[in-house]
Symmetry: C2
Subunit: 119 residues, 2 copies
């Protein structure tokens, strides 16, 4: 692999935000963080791998839940400080068991729940 993850711009904690988008529906599923090694693992394995800030460890998405993200395309933004991964998402992306983490809208000043957890 000639692409070098160290050429990306990471924050002071060594992390870069990664947006996951459903490759088929276009739905934005979640945003989490990667470090350079998570970027390399994601590209090498085709399984989207984040860095868990709370656990301070690699987080192979779906490893415990089965809700894996198969990498379809890996994109870098103009400033090289944000990533977009398009994925084939198995099941729910959100830990609340909803398809997407963005299930709450603010409309006319009120929060609206757009979807319920999956059965």
């Amino acid at each position: 692999m000639t692409f070098d993850p160290s050429t990306l711009t990471y924050n002071e904690a060594g992390l870069i935000p990664a947006i996951a988008q459903d490759a088929t529906s276009g739905e934005v599923l979640m945003m989490a963080w990667m470090n350079a090694e998570a970027v390399a693992k994601t590209l090498e394995t085709g399984r989207v791998t984040y860095w868990s800030r709370s656990r301070q460890s690699f987080w192979i998405k779906g490893e415990s839940s089965g809700h894996v993200q198969e990498l379809v395309d890996f994109r870098v933004d103009c400033d090289r400080d944000c990533l977009l991964v398009t994925v084939n998402q198995t099941g729910a992306a959100c830990h609340t068991n909803r398809r997407t983490c963005f299930y709450t809208a603010v409309r006319d000043g009120t929060e609206v729940e757009l979807m319920k957890p999956m059965e």
Copy 2:
């Protein structure tokens, strides 16, 4: 407005990431940052307003370029620490004059430019 922007979770710099998505095509256009007041301004005006970390000032998207983002829907994620705004984007979202900031893919270890700047 009953929704209170202070109920969101901001980082140590008082900022929250905001992903902008084209409301029609579903294309992810960019990611930038808001503070609580930018959140309030976005909701009040319907014009997406970020906080510019480099200029340390409000950044009403398109104010100088004309490439405005009209707010269609405002969403909060499960952890209340990331936002998704769906927008009607006029012209290019990216400062390079491309429709989206995510115009570079990494495929087979090589960076590929997916689109040219708009005419």
